[in-house]
């Protein structure tokens, strides 16, 4: 059972695929009661955070046009963004994971993002207890 310790968790989903944005947003909202916004590439994510938006968790796709997930993560950390950043990639090998973690992400998972992976992230978050 998932219990919110404080107020609602906010999330940003960064993915160029509209299907994935729809599925992830619905999953977070329905299964975890997490408010989720979506953007379609790393540049939009950086600009959104630069404009003052704050998110508890950012789910960041790796492969995106304009600005990929690793670069966006680097820029967000350079800006001082403290959100939990979860890298998501289609590549099972270690290279993407290393790149994401080196850029400053907290986790890196292989697609698809599912309930179990979200729970791993939430267990570490002070706003949630499971």
């Amino acid at each position: 059972m998932i219990v919110m310790a404080n107020n609602k968790i906010s999330a940003l989903i960064v993915d160029d695929d509209s299907i994935i944005r729809k599925i992830h947003k619905t999953m977070l909202e329905r299964l975890f009661n997490i408010e989720a916004e979506t953007v379609k590439d790393g540049k939009e994510a950086v600009e959104l955070c630069r404009s003052g938006a704050n998110f508890d968790i950012i789910f960041m796709d790796r492969e995106m046009p304009i600005m990929d997930g690793a670069e966006a993560t680097k820029q967000l950390r350079a800006m001082g963004v403290k959100s939990t950043i979860v890298g998501i990639t289609t590549r099972a090998g270690g290279e993407d994971r290393e790149e994401f973690l080196a850029a400053g992400s907290n986790h890196c998972f292989e697609k698809p993002l599912d309930r179990a992976k979200v729970e791993v992230v939430l267990r570490e978050h002070k706003k949630f207890t499971i």
Binding site: I19, T26, E63, P112
Partner: protein
């Protein structure tokens, strides 16, 4: 009689789903997708799948064009997208073919890419046909269930 029909259709649906799981066409991610459907969004699964079909067909057309041009890098980009969306809806066999296809693009193996593309087109068509079958059974079941209730009320 109509209730019996709805039950038979329910059994047909479950049998088809079990078959698709057993064959490795779908995996548990599809079940997670179904769990996101509720009374507030009763058509969530079909909405997602219709977007998936539309996008996938564009990707397949683009992949064929890129293969003719031998643009392996762009093919890799398209395959990443196809893999991501396919794995997110639980399309296991399509995802696996994408993995093999991507490996062939990394090796710039044209013959391997051509074989993989043909297999991908085949697996995608098979998946689409089976999911349409599933939708049809669901729609029939909803129709039958909808007709049943007024009949029950008249009998009370």
């Amino acid at each position: 009689m109509l209730g019996f029909g709805a039950d038979l259709l329910w059994a047909d649906m479950n049998r088809l789903l079990a078959f698709l799981f057993h064959q490795g066409v779908l995996d548990e991610q599809f079940l997670q997708l179904q769990q996101l459907q509720d009374e507030a969004s009763p058509n969530f699964v079909s909405e997602v799948l219709n977007i998936y079909f539309h996008e996938s067909e564009k990707l397949l057309t683009n992949l064929r064009g890129l293969l003719m041009e031998r643009d392996y890098k762009k093919m890799g980009v398209h395959l990443n997208q196809f893999m991501g969306s396919s794995s997110s809806i639980g399309a296991k066999r399509v995802t696996n073919v994408c993995v093999a296809f991507r490996a062939a693009t990394l090796q710039t193996n044209r013959a391997g890419c051509l074989r993989a593309l043909e297999m991908l087109e085949h697996e995608y068509c098979y998946l689409k046909n089976k999911l349409h079958q599933l939708f049809q059974i669901e729609q029939q079941r909803a129709l039958v269930a909808g007709v049943r209730y007024p009949v029950q009320n008249q009998n009370q």
